[in-house]
């Protein structure tokens, strides 16, 4: 198994920091009401998307995700300018402005698609994996979803097929304990762990602290080895926490749907803080500068970009 090196740690920190700063910039810009589509920010959960490019470099390693997909898109190496343009509904966006934040894609980087309907991209990922077998293609498919997707029927149906056909899939449940304002306890039996329940249907599962970047990194490494060597799918559960509201650019802790102690616990265990000690001050300043420059360039590019002509809306309905 790949062991995390000093360089990996730095890269990982950089990747997390970059996603964090991009998401914060989106939140900051949102109040200008120029980003006119719903956004589900990944702030707090970046450690799970951050190592994708490093560990699943090939564009044959493919990712699908759900509504909270920014960190997976960016982590896999999705184009930043195209992403920001898509948020602004601009012509240069990854889908020419037709799709918005909830439906991202960047085929070149291996980020295939994300979808706004809970659970809806899970079988798409399994289908991608099956097609690899037919086409004798290399690569692993990573399927990201939240704790609520585990409540859909299609989740079980998709897992069943992937297990049955021994497909090269890593299922990744980003468990942040909430679906919008609903705690898990209103949706799933209280003492049942997702990973343990899933194990019962015949798939290996690993569970880890999703806020600990090194643990997340190592879990991915194990999963990759497992899928490649045993030619079987695997299921990962990462526990984590979102800092902002479910959908939008604000914090909503005044609504009291999450306990203060819970919020404080997770903020104290923030993924960025966890790695901070491994990076020296000079490096940190350098990172911030580099990231800031990249972000400013991307945002000013997006703001200056043209809107697609209205007539584009009727194009590409059929192939």
């Amino acid at each position: 198994m790949k062991k995390i090196s000093k360089k990996d740690e730095l890269d990982l920190y950089y990747s997390i920091l970059r996603i964090r700063r991009i998401e914060e910039k989106i939140a900051k810009e949102y109040v200008n009401w120029k980003i006119r589509c719903p956004v589900h920010l990944s702030i707090g959960q970046e450690a799970i998307g951050a190592p994708l490019k490093k560990l699943f470099k090939s564009c044959k390693d493919e990712v699908v995700s759900g509504h909270r997909a920014h960190s997976h898109y960016l982590g896999k190496g999705g184009d930043l300018k195209k992403f920001i343009c898509e948020l602004y509904g601009k012509k240069n966006g990854s889908s020419g402005g037709k799709a918005g934040s909830m439906h991202l894609t960047d085929k070149k980087s291996g980020f295939i698609l994300s979808s706004a309907i809970v659970g809806n991209s899970i079988p798409i990922g399994v289908g991608l994996a099956y097609s690899k077998r037919i086409k004798k293609e290399k690569g692993i498919v990573l399927i990201f979803f939240g704790d609520a997707a585990v409540e859909t029927g299609v989740f079980f149906e998709s897992l069943n097929f992937a297990i049955l056909k021994k497909l090269p899939v890593i299922f990744i449940c980003e468990n942040n304990f909430y679906s919008v304002y609903s705690n898990m306890k209103y949706r799933q039996p209280q003492n049942r762990k997702i990973s343990e329940m899933v194990k019962g249907i015949g798939i290996k599962t690993l569970k880890s602290n999703g806020n600990d970047p090194i643990k997340v990194f190592n879990t991915y490494c194990k999963a990759k080895d497992y899928v490649e060597e045993l030619k079987k799918p695997i299921f990962l559960e990462f526990e984590t926490f979102r800092h902002y509201e479910h959908c939008g650019f604000l914090k909503d802790d005044h609504l009291n749907y999450r306990k203060k102690s819970e919020i404080n616990y997770w903020l104290k265990n923030d993924c960025l803080k966890k790695l901070q000690t491994k990076v020296n001050k000079k490096k940190l300043i350098f990172f911030e500068k580099k990231i800031n420059k990249e972000i400013e360039t991307a945002f000013s590019f997006a703001k200056k970009s043209k809107f697609p002509r209205n007539s584009e809306s009727r194009k590409k309905l059929y192939a």
Binding site: W33, R36, C37, P38, V39, G89, K90, G93, G96, G97, K98, A99, G100, S101, M102, H103, S115, A116, I117, V118, G119, A148, A149, E151, T152, G153, V154, S179, V180, Y181, S182, Y186, R187, Q188, C247, G248, L255, N256, Y257, F307, P308, R309, N310, E312, S313, R314, L317
Partner: protein, 352 residues
């Protein structure tokens, strides 16, 4: 005359639910967000507090199973109101809706009734996009065994919801997100409004305008502009798509001999298409000119701001058509005070 009681569409729905829950102690109300701090845009406000979490509750993200569970409750005479914050989420339950809810009464020859009400909220604007803004009333109305209602004002929202819940059949209750903040007079108490009866909102001899749900807001604007230009329209607000108040439409067209139908579904096989087909078949000789459909285009709602401009038809399209057929120049440009086409009113801030 009693003093008018002005409340919002969302508050009216809340009242309808509250009165129904009071009236029938077997009634159950569930859906994603029903008990959360936002309480489905205020429509389920305080219901869980008042009626407890056995009867009013948030659910797992299991739309398909929960619809089947609603049907199971319903055939044992526990009626259910299930809410979807977007119509698009109900699509996960098409099997249960079409193969069970719509079939059980007929197939078992009337031995079970299925009193469920599915509240489907149609999104619009602020980048809701292809999967969060679908107006699929035609899909539901196509299925024998389902009733489909689309109220356009707070009073009807309340009274038709009460009637939908009382109805022994599955009722698809479609509410447009842009209506939630609209205000109007709402009668006190437990009233109901018959499903299948349209409102005649304005009277005139020159043209018949038929609309539903949020399109009635647009139709009203148009009809008023027309009136100030000497063109008088019968404005029929359908309220119910299925059953359809054919009689009201035919009676009006017989008088006006001209017809416009507004519907915010995609044009092909839209409710507008069906109404025009009925009128053409039954009153071919009465029509002075071919009827007009004002509908959404035959492609998905895109997300981006510039792409959604002109996507949604509205009052301007009615006026343009009337300018043509009545050969009149009518001003309408300054009527709309909004600067942005993708929000219902200036106070609205995304993302919902």
């Amino acid at each position: 005359m009693p003093k008018k009681r002005i409340i919002t569409f969302a508050e009216a729905i809340n009242e309808g639910l509250r009165f129904s829950l009071l009236k029938n102690e077997n009634l159950i109300c569930f859906g994603l967000g029903v008990g959360d701090p936002k309480e489905v845009f205020g429509t389920t406000k305080n219901l869980q507090k008042q009626f407890g979490d056995q009867r009013v509750f948030d659910i797992p993200t299991s739309e398909n199973a929960m619809t089947g569970i609603a049907i199971g409750c319903a055939i044992n005479r526990c009626p259910v109101v299930m809410t979807h914050q977007r119509l698009d989420f109900s699509l996960l339950a098409f099997d249960q809706i079409i193969n069970n809810a719509a079939k059980i009464f007929y197939m078992f020859n009337g031995q079970f009734t299925v009193p469920i009400t599915l509240r489907l909220i149609v999104g619009k604007g602020w980048g809701q996009g292809p999967t969060h803004a679908q107006s699929l009333q035609s899909l539901f109305a196509h299925i024998p065994g389902l009733k489909v209602v689309m109220p356009s004002n707070p009073n009807d929202a309340k009274n038709m919801l009460i009637q939908s819940i009382k109805d022994p059949n599955p009722v698809i209750y479609i509410e447009h997100r842009w209506l939630h903040d609209q205000k109007g007079h709402v009668e006190k108490g437990f009233n109901s409004k018959k499903i299948g009866k349209a409102n005649l909102l304005m009277k005139g001899n020159d043209i018949t305008i038929v609309s539903n749900s949020f399109m009635t807001t647009e139709a009203l604007i148009a009809a008023k502009i027309l009136r100030s230009n000497g063109i008088y329209a019968d404005l029929i607000d359908l309220c119910s798509i299925k059953p359809l108040d054919e009689k009201a439409i035919l009676k009006s067209v017989k008088k006006t001999r001209r017809l416009i139908v507004l519907d915010d579904g995609h044009d092909f096989l839209s409710i507008a298409s069906e109404i025009i087909s009925i009128v053409t078949i039954k009153q071919f000789n009465n029509l002075k000119i071919s009827p007009k459909k004002i509908t959404m285009p035959n492609f998905p709602v895109p997300t981006g701001y510039s792409l959604t401009k002109n996507f949604y038809p509205g009052h301007k399209d009615v006026i343009k058509y009337c300018q043509n057929i009545f050969d009149k120049n009518i001003r309408y440009d300054n009527f709309s005070k909004k600067n942005f086409h993708d929000i219902p009113h200036v106070r609205f801030k995304g993302p919902f």
